[in-house]
């Protein structure tokens, strides 16, 4: 079982063009930390914002100029910059851009509105009050977001279980911190952060255990070599394959919030600062599905008949539990959390089709869902009562009368989540269900039936909110929608436009996703 150790060290070949976007992002993040260290307090917010946006924009440029023409498996087989990786990296960068814009929203204040002025102070302490008075800001959120984004970019390209694990941690750790930085209801936020961290560590352990078993099975952590070991059936330890595969997948399914590994989702989504929730829901999900796609289609594809049923069961449970539990939610953020659980189930249905169209459908879904989700959470952040976020559903009653435009946009996004035709939600559901029916066999059809039933249940939930906003008398209270700045306006506008365009003319993006649906080996 000894891997060949080279007698002489050979430098790995690095295709710098292919990994340029990641280098740009991590470089920007490091500069961000330095800015945090040296820049005077008053200039940090502006400097960080400009730096972060410029970094992501530069990474996007680098992606299209250098990486796209340079598809390659590089860094000693550990990164595969191929169609799906590039498609998802571009998606993640766009999510990052919008997410950062949402995080920067100040609502007329001195610092980013969603984040506590001083993360280290105890909630309610004199230090906290002093920090608020002095107008401190946790501008570290921007470099943290960049680090997380960096991890995600590697995650979707990781062609090796160890690289993937490192990426998983790099993307998760900043998110744990970000989750705990809410300005209001800080205890809830910190509790959410701790829960997310503990359970994240727990799931990482599963991933590592699975990776170890797969290594034991194949003698390598390289996905391609694992696939080869399965194909040639050369291993002496066949018993390790199935548990290894399932444990690795479970470690990743935790990140997308699949049932029964979803329990962190509602708590973390509710506690986290709302823009972070949006960022998590959109970007983490996209990154994690990118990794699952690669593991399932590159590493474990040959043995799929063994583990497919297991993941199918998880998909069914995810759709059912996500949909059913969203019925009794009374908090808009928790409700969207359960809805994101259900959506993860729908995406899994497409993923299990094992078909190029399935890959395309999954990627399309991630784009459509992510953009709508970012916009939805941006709107949640705007609805206030007495200065704090009004997330209880009863506070949304009659919002349609007070703020018809805001409520109308939110209604449209809900319609998209419900999968009503001519919105992106419908085309994306179609894009994942069609391949499942086409090449998913009996299980595919069964899952689609469950999916359609589950979406009927969720539609009920979403329509309930629309009814609540439009058909209920507004109680005499002071719930208002704050006037957003340009940043939030951009996020919402992009979300709405994407929801409509991807519903009416999804062809362009679908075609792009299909062209990008081949993995490099």
């Amino acid at each position: 079982m000894s891997a060949a150790v080279p007698a002489v060290f050979e430098a790995v070949k690095v295709d710098y063009a292919a990994i340029a976007p990641m280098l740009v992002v991590v470089g920007g993040a490091l500069i961000g930390v330095l800015v945090e260290a040296v820049a005077p307090r008053s200039t940090r917010y502006g400097a960080q914002l400009v730096l972060t946006l410029a970094t992501i924009a530069a990474a996007l440029v680098a992606l299209f100029v250098w990486a796209v023409p340079h598809k390659a498996v590089t860094l000693g087989q550990s990164l595969a910059i191929d169609g799906p990786a590039l498609f998802l990296q571009a998606t993640l960068l766009v999510f990052g851009l919008l997410g950062v814009l949402a995080m920067s929203e100040r609502f007329g204040g001195k610092s980013a509105d969603a984040f506590t002025p001083m993360g280290a102070s105890s909630p309610g302490s004199p230090q906290e009050a002093a920090a608020t008075r002095a107008g401190f800001a946790t501008s570290e959120v921007f470099p943290l977001a960049l680090f997380s984004l960096f991890g995600m970019l590697i995650f979707v390209a990781a062609n090796d279980l160890i690289t993937m694990f490192v990426a998983l941690e790099v993307l998760s750790l900043p998110l744990y911190i970000l989750t705990g930085l809410a300005r209001r209801r800080r205890l809830l936020s910190q509790e959410a952060s701790l829960k997310y961290f503990l359970l994240g560590a727990f799931s990482s352990a599963f991933f590592l255990f699975g990776a170890a078993l797969l290594y034991g099975f194949s003698g390598s952590s390289d996905l391609k070599l694992i696939a080869r070991a399965i194909t040639t059936n050369s291993s002496q330890m066949n018993g390790l394959l199935l548990p290894g595969a399932i444990l690795v997948l479970i470690g990743l399914l935790f990140k997308v919030g699949a049932v029964p590994f979803h329990s962190w989702t509602p708590d973390a989504y509710q506690g986290a600062p709302t823009p972070i929730t949006g960022f998590m829901a959109a970007a983490t999900k996209a990154a994690a599905f990118g990794a699952i796609l690669r593991i399932a289609y590159v590493g474990l594809e040959v043995s799929r008949w063994d583990w497919r049923v297991g993941v199918g069961l998880i998909a069914a449970a995810t759709m059912i539990v996500g949909a059913v539990l969203s019925v009794t939610q009374t908090d808009v953020k928790r409700l969207l959390a359960y809805s994101s659980v259900a959506h993860a189930g729908f995406i899994l249905v497409g993923l299990l089709s094992f078909d190029g169209n399935g890959i395309a459908g999954v990627m399309f879904y991630l784009v459509a869902y992510g953009l709508a989700t970012l916009a939805a959470f941006a709107i949640v952040a705007m609805i206030r009562q007495g200065g704090s976020e009004a997330t209880h559903l009863s506070q949304w009653a009659g919002l349609g009368r007070k703020h018809p435009v805001v409520a109308g946009i939110f209604g449209l996004l809900l319609l998209a989540f419900a999968g009503i035709p001519l919105t992106s939600g419908f085309t994306s559901k179609f894009a994942v269900f069609a391949p499942a029916i086409h090449s998913g066999g009996t299980m595919g059809v069964l899952l689609v039936v469950i999916g359609v039933l589950a979406s009927a249940v969720t539609a009920y939930v979403y329509f309930r909110i629309i009814v609540l906003m439009y058909f209920t008398q507004a109680p005499e209270d002071d719930v208002v929608a704050l006037t957003p700045s340009v940043a939030t306006t951009i996020v919402v506008t992009v979300g709405v436009l994407a929801t409509l365009l991807l519903g009416i003319v999804p062809g362009l993006l679908l075609q792009l996703a299909q062209d990008a649906s081949t993995f490099l080996l």
Binding site: F9, A37, V38
Partner: protein, 120 residues
């Protein structure tokens, strides 16, 4: 020696044996005169931190120190093998190492400038 693990096991046994022996001997041979300081936890000779049960709190500075330790610990873990094989690794590895040290340095600079190294 047919099996390369045998020396390992011998070493392991020796290690355990030594620990057991020294603790056991001191238990048997050593004088037993108790005072308060002896009953307290041993923390490098400084005032022990209050116990967590009963509402005591551990200073956050401990955590900070531990984190800083990890930063430099990891740095040395990477630096050591690099230093050993420096002549074979060539320019490429040197550049990589410098980059690595820069990233650690960035974290260090942040902690330093933000007052993380000031004890009080």
């Amino acid at each position: 020696m047919s099996n390369p693990y045998v020396p390992l096991f011998i070493l392991l046994a020796l290690g355990f044996g030594f620990a057991a022996l020294s603790v056991g001997t001191s238990l048997v041979v050593g004088p037993k005169r108790y005072n308060r300081a002896k009953a307290e936890a041993y923390e490098c000779g400084i005032q022990p931190s209050p116990r967590a049960e009963g509402g005591g709190r551990v200073p956050i500075k401990y955590f900070l120190t531990a984190m800083l330790f990890i930063i430099f610990d990891i740095e040395s873990i990477f630096l050591f093998p690099f230093a050993v094989a420096f002549d074979q690794l060539g320019l490429f590895a040197l550049v990589e190492m410098v980059l690595f040290i820069i990233t650690v340095f960035v974290a260090y600079a942040y902690v330093w400038k933000r007052g993380g190294l000031e004890w009080d």
